[in-house]
């Protein structure tokens, strides 16, 4: 076996650190031996193999991307490299959030914000995510945490649907190098979605 097989330490992943749960993503990546850095300016996008946009408030993310003059740089980065958005990050990654707010305008999905109601309606549930078999042959469900979560209301034809709730509403999707999850894998100890994203990064 070659040295480093199975390890991913040659990768460098950025986590957009304007606001939100960026540290949680960083800790999981570090456990996976990935070099993970917090991104607060455009210069830090250089030499990253992929970018994660964490959960937080999507209006805050959008506003700060404008204020720091980073919206175009993030769009340019995302048009070439893998990007994973969780919750607010998924909203930010989308082309349509059903209201006027700054977006990266990359992924062909339409997202509806706060689709389940307010915080008292936030919930946990088990999801069936067949594509995670590619990183872990055990097909146990993924325990997903939804916090004031959006849903993916519709997707373009070339978007792969990865997971839905029992009522059929779509909560995870992939389009080529872009991954969107409206729940929070970073709030769990299950690292399969992180490993799945790293596989996308490796394949690009």
């Amino acid at each position: 076996m070659p040295v480093g097989a199975g390890k991913v330490h040659f990768m460098k992943i950025g986590i957009l650190a304007f606001q939100g749960a960026f540290l949680e993503h960083q800790l999981i990546l570090e456990k996976l031996d990935v070099d993970a850095i917090q991104v607060r300016n455009s210069a830090q996008l250089q030499d990253l193999d992929g970018l994660i946009i964490p959960g937080g408030e999507s209006t805050t993310l959008g506003k700060l991307a404008m204020d720091f003059h980073m919206l175009e740089d993030l769009q340019a980065y995302g048009s070439q490299y893998p990007v994973w958005g969780t919750c607010a990050g998924a909203i930010f990654l989308s082309k349509n959030a059903d209201r006027k707010q700054p977006l990266l305008n990359l992924m062909d999905i339409k997202i509806i914000r706060n689709a389940f109601g307010r915080q008292v309606d936030s919930f946990e549930t088990d999801l069936d995510v067949p594509v995670l078999k590619t990183v872990d042959p055990n097909e146990h469900p993924f325990h997903a945490i939804f916090i004031r979560a959006p849903i993916i209301e519709s997707v373009a034809e070339n978007v792969e649907k990865l997971a839905s709730l029992s009522d059929g509403r779509l909560v995870a999707a992939r389009q080529n190098r872009w991954l969107a999850t409206v729940f929070h894998p970073e709030l769990t100890t299950d690292d399969r979605f992180h490993r799945y994203f790293l596989e996308i990064v490796k394949s690009k």
């Binding site: 606001q19 408030e57 209006t59 607010a88 008292v120 919930f123 549930t125 469900p141």
Partner: protein, 295 residues
Amino acid sequence: MTNEVGTFVVKKGLAQMLKGGVIMDVVTPEHARIAEEAGACAVMALERVPADIRADGGVARMSDPELILKIMDTVSIPVMAKCRIGHFVEAQILEALGVDYIDESEVLTPADEANHILKHNFKVPFVCGCRNLGEALRRIGEGAAMIRTKGEAGTGDVVEAVRHARQVLGDIRHLQAMQEEELMAYSKTIGAPYELVVETRKLGKLPVVNFAAGGIATPADAALMMQLGVDGVFVGSGIFKSGNPARRANAIVKSVTHYNDPKMLAEISRNLGEAMVGRQISSIPDQDLLAGRGW
């Protein structure tokens, strides 16, 4: 696949999404819109900011539900509201309104001088104030899913916020240096649940998100609290009692992202107009201080 609502994980989870952000006190829907546009990660809906509560005197209670609902209709970000310490019926009303977080707050006049609300009984999460580790862990023991240091609200003087943040974070460093045998005696000394003392020692931080509050008025104040080690800040009177609220609000939001970058902070702090006038804590008689409310 059943959906579980109101679990401690989802309560605590919302606070995790607020980290690195600024939660702003607002008294009208128009304020709420200004706060959201400035990049606030949440707003606190109330009838009077703490500086006015302090000036007006009298009994301060939960805000009119009508005002809270109007603010909830105006913004898409989370809306918090305050109830009095121990007033679990005000909390029930706020939960029924659908607010996203309840602040059981010393800024309002306490309804119970011995007991806080049993927050585990609610689906809506609570944030509570503290001045030291024991107080923080007692609140978490009752079910608080987020903690904020108390500071001294409505003063614009950051000195108490610094004192309380240093105390809580210093207590945790002290706890980490202890031997395991000493933890039960320490729990007794600080009046905190043993299990939470053990957990805090293991984590090296509180088991829930910890914001700073009470007296933050400038981007530099906010960055100071972040460098001391809190997860985010509440700004009460500091924004809408200042000369240019929209500009100051936005500057404080940016300062919390770039709290470790003095050059950015210098840029952000330029030309913000007048800060709130403020009151030095040392000029306030002891019986008028809010932080001593609750135990």
